[in-house]
């Protein structure tokens, strides 16, 4: 195990240029950043979103005519998993005030705040409570908390610039002004953010930030936040029930068109259940497992964009779904670590990106889309990528992590990046001494369902929180703003929904009439009936095995 002898040979070139690069860094000399016009040019030429065939125009639904990622359009232009006529609406299996769909960070934060308004809550989640992209977020959480050098004003500018000024400014204002409150809330719940002895929090730069405002807990910030929120939800077990392995597959409405619950599918017993609820908070997260443009992904197993299609059928418009985020630094070696996220904090801490010659080709703190496009350019156009062993035609570039120990002192890499350090150690690679071979990997759904700053939407009783929503990040999210997004908008949606259920006295007759209408629209357009959605789980089955499953029946990817 460890690097092949060919790679060890190539690493010598990186080692040769390293002392000078470290010296420059210490002197404050950075590789020149691209201008806004150069950024645009780089994106248009090299970012996967701009490749021919990446997008297509929607032919049905509330955002008809909008161009979005093909793979998401496939799930929109598909029929429901359920035949509306097969549902028995007389038998309701669960009744609650607030139904939260999704057991990640946004959903759990929402559940906690809804409960604090006096609501009874059910969290329905596809996998286990907490098995979500929140758990996997590593680098940190942005918030302007240091008023001697930073403020929501600068955070706002950074968010807008990172999103190419297309963001919904109302959502951005809400996020940046709520950010310090979100940090304070998590601190109060007992999240162990890295701190000095006097309690002051450590903060670092992220790509695209003008001030060091990335708060973190080692390199497992998301895990620390997720397990704390989950633990707190478990302490409120009297009011917050959790249904695991029970993804929602369709929403329910009443005759006034208000969202009134959902149909859940028990993945283990293959039964469907009806949940009647006065409010539904959609918090299903992203869609990396749709493998946009066939990219590998850092996302968790359940990230199939289910909430997008359920919300779209309900009549919620979508935004920014043309923009998929490719994280610049996904591992490409060793093979078993492939697609794995290497946190941006590594670059935030000073590690350069270098090509096969050990030369820098991009400033390491460009926004993610620019950074990714630059890596793709270096490999595909410039031809200075490092060949990935055993995979002809594949290339990566070096992420020079050993610089960090040289800049900040021996032991920094191991202390600041414990999870990645252990992981690579298992593969025989000491990342405090050797660089990592990386390539962009599908990471985040920049867009999603349209929602207002308080989490409400155009449909009464229906609320949105977290990655399933779109607008706040524009076409490109900055590092550290997703943990922030899920905490801020999870809390707000939970609070709004919790208050709303106190004003809603009754739920009318349940139906899925919106799905019927959607099916009619598909029929008129003559599309989509060959597919079903939501996907629920990706298909990584073995086609050879499937050929011999003579009596099995698949609906979409599910047996």
């Amino acid at each position: 195990m460890g690097y092949t002898s060919e790679l060890m040979e190539l690493i010598k070139r990186v080692e040769k240029t390293r002392p000078e690069r470290v010296m420059k860094k210490k002197d404050g000399q950075e590789f020149p950043a691209l201008t806004l016009d150069q950024r645009r040019d780089r994106l248009e030429k090299y970012h996967p979103d701009f490749r021919a065939g990446a997008l297509r125009e929607l032919k049905v639904g509330p955002s008809k005519g909008l161009s979005i990622a093909q793979e998401i359009a496939d799930t929109f232009e598909a029929k429901s998993r359920l035949d509306p006529d097969a549902i028995d609406f007389n038998e309701v299996h669960y009744e609650t005030d607030v139904l939260v769909i999704g057991g990640g960070g946004a959903g759990t934060a929402a559940a906690l705040l809804a409960q604090e308004q006096g609501a009874r809550v059910i969290i329905a989640t596809k996998l286990r409570h907490g098995d979500a992209n929140t758990m996997m977020a590593e680098g940190g959480m942005q918030a302007a908390t240091k008023s001697w050098k930073d403020s929501p004003y600068y955070h706002f500018l950074d968010v807008m610039g990172g999103g190419h000024f297309e963001n919904d400014p109302e959502l951005v204002r809400t996020m940046v002004t709520e950010a310090p409150k979100a940090i304070e809330w998590l601190e109060k719940l007992g999240c162990m953010f890295n701190k000095w002895p006097d309690g002051k929090m450590f903060t670092l730069h992220g790509a695209g930030t003008c001030r060091k405002r990335m708060h973190y807990a080692g390199d497992m910030t998301g895990a620390e936040i997720m397990r704390t929120l989950r633990d707190e939800a478990r302490n409120r077990v009297k009011d917050i029930g959790v249904l695991e392995f029970s993804p929602a597959v369709e929403l329910l409405i009443d005759e006034k068109g208000r969202c009134s619950g959902a149909v859940l599918y028990n993945l283990e017993t293959e039964e469907y259940f009806l949940v009647k609820a006065k409010a539904v908070i959609m918090a299903t997260g992203g869609s990396g497992r749709l493998h946009m443009s066939r990219f590998m992904t850092t996302n968790h197993y359940g990230a199939t964009g289910d909430g997008l299609v359920m919300g779209y059928r309900l009549g919620i418009e979508v935004r920014f779904l043309h923009a998929t985020q490719y994280h610049p630094t996904g591992a490409v070696f060793p093979e078993q670590a492939e697609g794995l996220l290497i946190t941006e904090k590594v670059r935030g801490a000073g590690a350069n990106l270098v090509n096969i010659d050990g030369d820098q080709f991009v400033f390491e703190r460009e926004p993610r889309d620019i950074e990714s496009a630059s890596i793709i350019r270096e490999c595909e156009k410039v031809g200075k990528g490092v060949p990935v062993p055993g995979q002809p035609g594949r290339f990566g570039v070096w992420l020079d992590s050993p610089m960090i120990d040289m800049l900040e002192g021996e032991g920094t890499v191991e202390r600041e990046f414990p999870a990645k350090f252990i992981l690579f150690k298992r593969y025989g690679i000491d990342i405090s001494k050797l660089p990592m071979l990386i390539y962009p990997t599908l990471h985040y759904q920049n867009g999603g369902l349209a929602y207002k700053p308080d989490g409400s939407t155009t449909v009464e009783g229906f609320f949105v929180a977290g990655e399933v929503g779109g607008g706040v990040h524009g076409a490109n999210r900055l590092m550290g703003n997703s943990l922030l997004d899920i905490t801020v908008f999870g809390r707000l949606a939970g609070e709004t929904a919790g208050k709303y259920v106190n004003t809603r006295s009754e739920i009318g007759k349940l139906s899925v009439d919106h799905v019927r209408r959607y099916h009619e629209e598909l029929e008129t357009a003559g599309i989509g009936f060959e597919r079903v959605s939501p996907m629920v789980l990706p298909d990584y089955g073995n086609p050879e095995v499937r050929k011999r499953q003579w009596t099995s029946h698949y609906v979409g990817t599910l047996r």
């Binding site: 403020s151 807008m160 409150k181 304070e184 007992g190 999240c191 302490n235 443009s293 793709i376 599910l558």
Partner: protein, 259 residues
Amino acid sequence: MSAMVQEAVQQHSSPSEAAARTDLVPIFIMGKRYMVPSTLTIQKAFEYAGYQLIRGCGCRGGICGACATVYRTPGSAKINVGLACQTVVQPNMYLTMVPFFPANRAVYDIEELKPDAQTLLKYYPELAKCMGCNTCTKSCPMDIPVMEYISAAIRGDVEKAAEISMSCVMCGICASRCPAELGQYNIAIMCRRITGRHIWPKAQHVAEMVEKINSGRYDKPLEQLMKADLETLRKLYVERQMEPHTTPEDWTPDDKSFI
């Protein structure tokens, strides 16, 4: 085309390839033999063998703890542990995932907890039954010295227990192997939350900023940005002063009118 990588493609082979493959090794999933490519992780080997995973699969990145796996190899009595998504198969390994194992979990109010041994023993009296066998440490797929944090907890050194257990993924293997029937990982998160809430000092700068925001200090500057046209916004963005990478913590910007 170097970007075109997909797990699904890499895991599988066409019938002709499968016949020609020389890199397959036997593994025993719950005692049953399957031939799988030698470079796969246990998780992908399950899928290659024909399983569609429902339990035992979460982040696929070594952090959620859904895919704890125990295995042994021929000629050794040792029980090994690993996360299925992170552990590469070994020829002739006998394995099973342990996607769930029951463990005691106390319900508590974080505000009322105190950072001492009495508190921990009140909620987890079984702590006192730890016999120091060290099986938990030997069974941790994250290489955490579990028994050390349990010892720290028994001593009442809550902060130490929190720090040692920081990289716990709560997979539950420690609890499955513990002869004293402790749910170590639940005790660990209680220690971490007590540390974060009650031992480590509160960040004053965060509270101060919240107060400043609530006082309306940034309402006007933000309103200005909201109203600014694209050109102005771009200009402000490009010209914003960057905090240098290597400056000390107390660095301040030249323009203080918006902080």
